[in-house]
């Protein structure tokens, strides 16, 4: 219940406050979202496999977002920001698809 409430609260918060994302943070927002999505899909899969652990979920979420942003930041400093972002998106994308496939197998047994 609480996670769903949190989801709705977050959407409402974003819509209501509509804060301006600071300019220096804007390049990291998309990659942070992809990383967060990976953590959320992973959590959903773990839930289905009955191994969900809130501590692991929170830590994986935060570390995913921070590391992804850090890699992009480092890439920007080195002048290979877009290439590193691509790498991060590829890796996280594969993980998201693999986890989504696992969830699908769980639900449909196919």
């Amino acid at each position: 219940m609480i996670p769903v409430a949190g989801l709705l609260t977050g959407i409402a918060l974003g819509l209501y406050l509509q804060p301006d994302v600071p300019l220096w943070l804007q390049p990291y927002l998309p990659i942070a979202i992809v990383a967060a999505l990976d953590a959320v899909v992973g959590g959903a899969r773990a839930l289905g496999e009955r191994r969900f652990d809130d501590r692991v979920f929170v830590i994986s979420f935060v570390s995913n977002v921070v590391i992804a942003a850090l890699i992009v930041f480092l890439g920007d400093q080195l002048g290979v920001g877009s290439q590193l972002s691509t790498g991060v998106v590829v890796v996280l994308g594969i993980r998201i698809f693999a986890n989504a496939a696992a969830i699908r197998r769980q639900i449909f047994h196919a």
């Binding site: 974003g14 804007q26 927002l29 652990d53 979920f57």
Partner: protein, 266 residues
């Protein structure tokens, strides 16, 4: 690690490895202590993370939709510009076609032939002419020591061609009329016109519509070439308008011995 924890085959490639260990290994580590059934989603920390996640996604979505109208506006403005440009081109092409027809019909009319014949001697250079025009003065670069870049035959030829192109009707270089018999050469670095050596500064006088001459001369490739020569080598180039220029005839044109005008070419 995942592979042996789950008992699946070990991945061979990097991408396989990523796909195989898609779920964080920590989920597979059974925590020591309390036995859990794994359904501990109803905690505040999970809720907080979900709030954060939803806020992030909403923000990104809002930002994307905020930027979209601007982009669409830009795009439509560009499309309008293109349409306007195309319409303008079409209009100008129509004008061009109309003027082309006009020129042709005027050319067919009688008057022009007579005018052309009347102008032939002055254009040919067999009679002295006078009128308004342009004076171009070329001088060697001034360098305190050593060899200074000098005005060459090529520079003079560029100036002459540029002036003809700009619409000059008669040209003289240091008083020597330029005609179909003229030669611009150089011998040991000294510019010669009709095999008469010239010293810097060389004055080129051209008769024509002053403003059109000057504008077209400067805007053409000759103007650009001379600008580059001034900038790179320090040649002195002075272009000025002249109210009244008098150019002498080239006698050689008047005394052609072998070439005869054809009747039809009148």
């Amino acid at each position: 690690m995942t592979a042996h924890l789950t008992g699946r085959r070990r991945a061979e490639g990097l991408l396989d490895e990523i796909a195989d260990s898609a779920l964080d290994d920590d989920y597979y580590l059974v925590r020591a202590g309390e036995p859990r059934d794994g359904r501990t989603t109803n905690t505040l920390t999970v809720g907080a993370v979900m709030v954060l996640f939803a806020t992030l996604v909403t923000l990104a979505a809002l930002q994307g939709s905020a930027e979209r109208p601007e982009r669409i506006q830009e795009r439509s403005a560009m499309i309008t510009d293109i349409a306007t440009g195309r319409a303008e081109v079409a209009t100008l092409q129509g004008v061009l076609a109309r003027l082309d027809r006009e020129v042709r019909s005027l050319g067919d009319a009688d008057g022009l032939d007579g005018r052309r014949t009347g102008e032939a001697p002055s254009l040919g250079g067999s009679v002295p002419v006078r009128g308004p025009g342009l004076v171009v003065e070329l001088s060697d670069a001034e360098v305190p020591v050593g060899d200074a870049p000098r005005v060459g035959a090529r520079d003079l030829r560029v100036v002459l061609n540029g002036l003809w192109y700009a619409g000059a009707e008669a040209i003289a270089v240091d008083g020597l009329r330029i005609t179909s018999l003229s030669a611009v050469t150089s011998a040991e670095g000294v510019v010669q016109v009709n095999y008469v050596p010239l010293a810097s500064p060389i004055t080129v006088s051209a008769i024509g519509d002053t403003s059109v001459l000057e504008q077209r001369f400067r805007a053409g490739s000759a103007g650009r070439y001379l600008d580059a020569r001034t900038e790179d080598d320090g040649l002195g180039i002075d272009v000025r308008a002249a109210e009244d220029l008098a150019l002498e005839a080239d006698d050689r044109v008047a005394s052609l011995e072998f070439a005869e005008a054809l009747e039809e070419a009148r």
